[in-house]
Symmetry: C2
Subunit: 256 residues, 2 copies
Amino acid sequence: MRDMNVVLSNDDGIYAPGIRAFYNAIKDLANVQIVAPSEEQSAVGHAITLFDPIKTKKAYKNGKLLGTAVSGTPADCVKLAICELCETPPDLVLSGINLGANTGISVLYSGTVSAATEATILGIPSIAVSLCTFTDPLWDTAETIARNVFKYALESKMPSDALLNVNIPNLPLEEIKGTQIVPVARSRFNEIFHKRTDPRGNLYYWLDGELEILEDRKETDAHALNEGYVTITPISFDLTNYAAMDKMRGWNVTGP
Amino acid sequence: MRDMNVVLSNDDGIYAPGIRAFYNAIKDLANVQIVAPSEEQSAVGHAITLFDPIKTKKAYKNGKLLGTAVSGTPADCVKLAICELCETPPDLVLSGINLGANTGISVLYSGTVSAATEATILGIPSIAVSLCTFTDPLWDTAETIARNVFKYALESKMPSDALLNVNIPNLPLEEIKGTQIVPVARSRFNEIFHKRTDPRGNLYYWLDGELEILEDRKETDAHALNEGYVTITPISFDLTNYAAMDKMRGWNVTGP
């Protein structure tokens, strides 16, 4: 078991407590290399850095080496770890533990999920883990769940063509109702742009908003998490809508 | 027809020739409002700006008003246009014309596609258009194709749950072989990190790489574009991998 090589990243940055919690959850089960953004990178989606250099440095806390801090996005971290920093390709990439749920359409904006997506594109199985709170995180719960999910990977049960997106309710372990394997809830953000004026009289906006669930299905990630279940969703990166494709046969746009 | 209200954005920035070409292609068919990044935003994926203000200003070229320049990502532009800048929600959002193909896994990193994705999430049909070249773009070809695609939207033929991702070969119109409705090619980037040292002796990396196609299917966006067809791919944003879900029934990760 000790021979499993794992890269651990996140989007909250290398100094965030969540990445430490993930490390603690699995450190006796694998060789863990931490490669994470030097600063918080939430809502960066699947951004990568093409037009700037990516800088790395060793990150320490209380004199102890944490890992490699990267001046880039979560996807940058995972690319760099797999292609350049690891001596051999890792067996698994983990991302998190993120503070705040990544359910519904949030999955698309999530840096936590994008780190895992990047790994899966590069052929490495991966798991993104989020804890559904911004305050008073119950790390004990999160660590236990993360460790249990990780054991499925140890037992080679990971799907080959999907990353796993795990969301954990912020409850004491004994209050969690169980595990649900559920799809991403169809949803959108109800955007609010706060419109303000800067000290020099220039207009600016600040984005705010709430997730709105747009569907009738009861068994989705957002619903199940809200009801107190751990949710696991396999995420694909073939974005083709095959059903819509069938309806478009016969389109011809190349006439003059 | 004149009553159709369209928002036009891109990721190459409001001063890019491609957005001007798209505008020229459709300006007599719709009311077009341009809301685009003030600077190039390639490879930003589906990033949104949460932790900084978003500034807007009127953009002019040769004394003529182009539209609204936004200090944010393509997804920011579309959110802001739909939720704040447009008096009534637009009927359609267009993105492009991008320089460089957006096929295969590039779709996931593409700011051009993310602008269209954002619109579709917010319930507005959308079309992303890219021209497969970085040099000597044949804008006449691209404008004709973009206009023809747009006419399908005018005739209310857009799918309701997918955005359209259109790629155009950089060929004279008469050399284009036709239109293909095709899936996204399974692919990855073969990453190369150029490793360098800055003038102060610090290590940095610069990302480079080439798209590698990973599949046997001949009818994909990357193949068809390469063979000289215009490709149209409906893109979904339900990322759930339903097939993998079925294989994971019975997982339980909430034990102690």
